[in-house]
């Protein structure tokens, strides 16, 4: 008989919590189990989810990215401004993705070449991006373009009468699939794990640690920018003051999804489940109706602490 590899335990716990929350919702509220709720769960949390997938790579490598929320806000207002200035939406989106990736690569280069802690570099990046967002435009700007008002809606995949998978959810699911593939089936992905597990060993084993690090932050920057694009699809606007602290939600989703904050162990599908758990908590509280939405934060806080304790006890057991 094969023993279960301890690294799957947090993942199993995540799956259990997710299922339990869903079942609880279905038992308490008659409409909770409807297809629409599930579809919305994906659609409403798409940009958080995409950002969290980017964050998964960073955390797997033992780093952290605090710039996510600010990058999303910056990209959002950048796209809104460019489109209202007459740029075709596709060009604006492509440009935004390039900007996000270059910004991420720049953060990664600082971390690699000056051997700086990711926490500080991305903290600086966060302030920089937030400030730049306000430089682009100081207040919210609605996007009025046919692409946004019609095309995006037409891209939804109809499931049942009056229920369709929104384009944002499609983006999210596609990102999860691609990222899972990168993690498991590319050398880059495996290098991410090895750096997070033991950077020094990875270096001695000939893993290109430096370029991989830059790649990780570039990829995270790309996913943040993509999350920014998806946020404009969702909001139909850009707002420089939005998504403050979203990076922390993303980190919470990653950790609840079973990725070790110290790096080396974790799975992208886990992050998907982590995001869905956060969404389920929010939906539950919305259905309940009487509770203040701040209870969402309390529930997430408690859950996060429980998961950290779980991870610690597992990694502790592994050492012994």
């Amino acid at each position: 008989m094969k023993r279960i590899n301890p690294k799957y335990i947090p993942l199993a716990a995540t799956a259990l919590v997710m299922i339990a929350l869903y079942v609880l919702g279905c038992l308490l509220y008659p409409n909770f189990g409807s297809l629409r709720v599930v579809v919305n769960l994906f659609g409403d949390n798409a940009f958080l989810g995409i950002a969290a997938v980017g964050g998964t790579f960073v955390i797997l490598s033992g780093g952290i990215d605090l710039s996510v929320g600010a990058v999303i806000a910056f990209i959002g207002i950048l796209i809104a401004s460019l489109i209202s200035g007459g740029m075709p939406p596709m060009v604006a989106i492509a440009l935004a993705l390039v900007v996000g990736t270059v910004f991420g690569a720049a953060q990664g280069s600082l971390i690699r070449f000056f051997d700086l802690p990711p926490f500080l570099v991305t903290l600086g990046g966060m302030f920089l991006m937030r400030g730049l967002a306000f430089v682009v435009r100081a207040e919210s700007l609605a996007i009025k373009h046919r692409f946004y008002q019609q095309t995006i809606r037409q891209l939804a995949i109809p499931l049942a009468p009056r229920i369709a998978i929104p384009f944002t959810a499609i983006c999210f699911i596609a990102v999860v699939i691609v990222a899972t593939y990168i993690c498991i089936y590319t050398r880059f992905g495996r290098n991410v794990y090895s750096i997070g597990s033991s950077e020094n060993s990875a270096l001695l084993m000939g893993v290109p640690v430096g370029s991989t690090k830059i790649g990780i932050y570039a990829l995270a920057g790309f996913f943040s920018a993509l999350a920014g694009c998806v946020s404009t699809f969702y909001m139909q606007s850009g707002n420089p003051a939005s998504f403050v602290g979203l990076e922390l939600d993303a980190i919470a989703a990653v950790v609840i999804g079973g990725t070790l904050l110290t790096g080396g162990v974790g799975f992208v599908p886990g992050t998907l489940m982590g995001v869905l758990i956060l969404g389920l908590i929010q939906t539950l509280i919305t259905f309940q109706g009487n509770l203040n939405t701040w209870w969402t934060k309390i529930a997430i806080g408690v859950l996060l602490l429980l998961f950290i304790v779980l991870q610690k006890s597992i990694s502790g057991a592994r050492r012994a």
């Binding site: 690294k7 089936y185 590319t186 050398r187 060993s201 990875a202 000939g206 050492r319």
Partner: protein, 511 residues
């Protein structure tokens, strides 16, 4: 053209303030196992790190099969055909065995990793070493010895021409060393050149064909192993003459002075489930009690429950005849017990602090944050211990990470001596340090004993235990299996108690 595989000529490498290598020549031939010997700080690690591309050389020429090579990273060195297995296992603990073997060179189709091929390749690599191991197993779930074998399998997976083994045996027990030797002999017979760095004399003489000795960054000489007697080798390494060394070696045990009187520490039926079966143990002031046994026999575990790191779940403990419970290392320190841990890199030194700061650390901690030691007092302590322990350093403000292993160990010892302990537990104080420094540490232990300290001495090297201890407690499979005192202590007596179940281990070593 000779049959030489690797030729290093006039290699030099300096660090700020230190000349680590000065014009060193080094030649490895095909189909030989070549020992690289020298004290710590002799330049072995630097030489290896230049060969493997971790450091860049300042001057000199390296040729592999007649072709000049200039690796600038471990990856490039590997591409040239130089593979390395390090003392510390440098693999990725969270990945599987198979992946560790193939990491960085996974078979791919259009950038798409073929996991099936990885497993097959890992199986082949393990089979070549005659290792029966499930390649899907997570590396951290394997013992250190197995991890070391996996590192070797990884090194062999590339078409290596030169294999460098940098103290691969320091955390293996004898049977495992035997397995390792079987493998490297086979590789040698296949025509590979193998560089073997170790501190263990027995191993050098049982497995190598040739020895190159370095001292202070310079080449002392190259000798066929069979033509260099042990004493000569030691003498060359420490730069003394063979007669002096002979005198040093013959200072055999201080058996004459078995101590009478009340023990300082006594434990009865003391144990902890899963780490050490209940045992009795006592140590008198002025006595060295050796704790002998194979790796994993429960030596460190015993030390840990005495020092309060782990809680015992049976038995009682007496200090000066008074029954006490020690619930934490802090409490142990208050009772004037000190403990130098096995892995000085992980548990001991604070690399970025100076020697002075490392020395005063434990004393300061025991006084609490409010009773800061004056700078004058700190300087005095640092000077005293640097002198008393003969730490080789330009001064007390040197960062401890710049010292050699033996000197770091001395500073650690100084740290604990500064707290004026009555019992000091030394867990492998001589591991990974060179012969000269080992002798010094042994001498220090004897001096401390004469000053009336009670000492619990843990070491894998039996000769050392025999030389320094008045009594020896023998552990096997996490159980006390015997105790020897005075005249009865000998390597053979200890061996026969430890090795009873695996008597063939010695033979494997010399097969």
């Amino acid at each position: 053209m000779s049959d030489s595989l690797l030729e290093v000529r006039g290699l030099s490498k300096g660090f700020p303030g230190v000349r680590a290598l000065a014009g060193v020549d080094f030649t490895v031939r095909r189909g030989e196992i070549h020992a690289l010997m020298g004290e710590n700080g002799a330049g072995k690690s630097t030489l290896i790190k230049v060969l493997t591309g971790v450091y860049e050389r300042d001057a000199g020429d390296t040729r592999l099969e007649g072709k000049t090579i200039f690796p600038r990273s471990p990856r490039e060195a590997e591409a040239c055909g130089i593979s390395t297995v390090y003392q510390e296992v440098n693999l990725i603990p969270d990945l599987s065995v198979a992946e560790n073997i193939c990491l960085g060179r996974q078979p791919t189709v259009f950038g798409n990793i073929r996991w099936g091929a990885i497993t097959r390749r890992a199986k082949q690599a393990l089979a070549r070493l005659e290792l029966d191991l499930d390649p899907s197993r997570q590396l951290s779930a394997c013992s250190i010895a197995i991890q070391q074998m996996v590192a070797l399998a990884r090194a062999m997976d590339v078409s290596a021409k030169l294999l460098i083994l940098d103290e691969p045996t320091s955390s293996l027990d004898e049977r495992e060393v035997g397995e390792l030797f079987k493998v490297i002999r086979k590789l040698r017979d296949d025509g590979m050149g193998i560089v073997f760095v170790t501190h263990f004399m027995d191993q050098v003489y049982s497995v190598t064909n040739r020895i190159t000795v370095l001292r202070n960054g310079e080449l002392v000489g190259e000798y066929p192993t069979a033509e260099l007697p042990r004493l000569e080798l030691v003498a060359r390494m420490i730069g003394k003459d063979a007669k002096e060394v002979a005198a040093m070696e013959s200072q055999h045990p201080g058996v004459q002075s078995i101590r009478e009187g009340e023990p300082f520490l006594e434990v009865k039926n003391f144990g902890r489930k899963g780490s050490i079966a209940p045992l009795d143990l006592s140590i008198r002031p002025g006595e060295v009690v050796g704790l002998a046994g194979l790796l994993g026999s429960g030596r460190t575990e015993t030390a840990r429950i005495i020092f309060g790191v782990d809680k015992p779940d049976s038995g009682e403990m007496f200090l000066d005849g008074e029954r006490v419970t020690i619930s934490s290392p802090r409490a142990a320190i208050r009772r004037r017990i000190a403990f130098t841990a096995e892995d000085r890199k992980v548990d001991g030194i604070i690399p970025n602090l100076s020697i002075r700061e490392n020395i005063v650390l434990a004393l300061q901690a025991s006084r609490g944050a409010w009773a800061k030691l004056s700078r004058a007092k700190q300087d005095e302590l640092a000077d005293r211990f640097i002198k008393a322990l003969r730490v080789k350093t330009p001064g007390p403000e040197q960062l401890i990470k710049n010292l050699s292993g033996g000197n770091q160990q001395k500073v650690l010892l100084g740290r604990w001596l500064a707290t004026e302990p009555r019992l000091i537990i030394l867990d492998e104080p001589t591991r990974g340090i060179d012969v000269g420094a080992k002798a010094e540490i042994e001498k220090l232990i004897t001096e401390l004993r004469r000053d009336g300290l009670a000492i619990l001495f843990i070491s894998s090297e039996l000769e050392e235990v025999v030389r320094t201890s008045q009594r020896v407690v023998i552990l096997r499979d996490r159980k006390k299996v015997g105790e020897l005192a005075g005249e009865a202590i000998s390597e053979h007596a200890i061996m026969s108690q430890i090795a009873a179940p695996t008597a063939e281990s010695k033979d494997v070593l010399h097969a």
